[in-house]
Symmetry: C2
Subunit: 205 residues, 2 copies
Amino acid sequence: MRKQKGLLIVLSGPSGVGKGTVRKELFSQAGTNYEYSISMTTRAPREGEVDGVDYFFKSRVEFEELIEQGGLLEHAEFVGNYYGTPLAYVNETLEAGRDVFLEIEVQGAAQIREKLPEALFIFLAPPSLSELQNRLIGRGTETEDIIQKRIATAREELEMMSLYDYVVENDEIQKACDKINAIIVAEHCRRERVEKIYLSMLRGE
Amino acid sequence: MRKQKGLLIVLSGPSGVGKGTVRKELFSQAGTNYEYSISMTTRAPREGEVDGVDYFFKSRVEFEELIEQGGLLEHAEFVGNYYGTPLAYVNETLEAGRDVFLEIEVQGAAQIREKLPEALFIFLAPPSLSELQNRLIGRGTETEDIIQKRIATAREELEMMSLYDYVVENDEIQKACDKINAIIVAEHCRRERVEKIYLSMLRGE
């Protein structure tokens, strides 16, 4: 019987929303049933960071060679440093039938959406929705300026999230983690996926 | 702010798969966040069954009047008795922003798929997938007859599930309930849904 390919799960969202914190919480929990794909970077390791655990630390030359060879699923440059996702690990893990979890910036997520539209895209949103609601229906204690700023932020988020399959508000880390895990469980129950498994089994693969 | 409409959740599957058992288990658990829609029937109450709890018990004349008035979301006849879902309760609960859960036969689910394609359709499957796998990769202890029967059953299920959004195997009641709850949580995080909430809030509804 052929092994079913794993699911590529991409967690992204505006910077500062707490993607890293949510990802660490997910992987600190028992029973997490997917593999974390470690990013590659040219920035120097910070105190306590370990090569191959927090990041794969590479020189600029090494990183650019990998870009040229097509060895990165996505990459971007921030403040003079490269960040990217090594393709080999992702492909090998998916082929082995294991789910892979990426936590990356929105630019990288957009690159993956182009290359692998069948991946699962989760947008981590700041709790602006509930906040916005409180402000708008609030007790009139906010200035018009603040209300307008909130509305502008909501519009920006709306635009960013349009490429994603799911939106999870990071109002509470544990709640956000529970929702992300529920989304992954649900995706494995999607009829198209189960049908494929049935069919390949009936074909004796 | 306008209340968002609730989600209509339809659980169905082949007869004998354990839909009723799974539904009872879901509603016996604390924290179930959706309303059960009680079916209407013309069959006589069984020992211990309560009108308005297990079913709404009606006469044939009353039931047929309701069919004529378009008062049923779906209905079917089994062994000389009508079974159906009263439309008013479903509509009122959805309009109030609460999710409604239906547990019905596949014929009824097909009727709802026609009328309300935006509902959430979950197919409860017998654990034939895992069983089939065991048989096919088994130790050659099964006769060819039994293997062919399993394959035929799998094909039938495949055909039935094609109208559904999700497939949940009823290998263990608790596992099946967890998956159904995960699917409902995930559906509430779908980007299209969250976008609608943002937009209606930005319009001040």
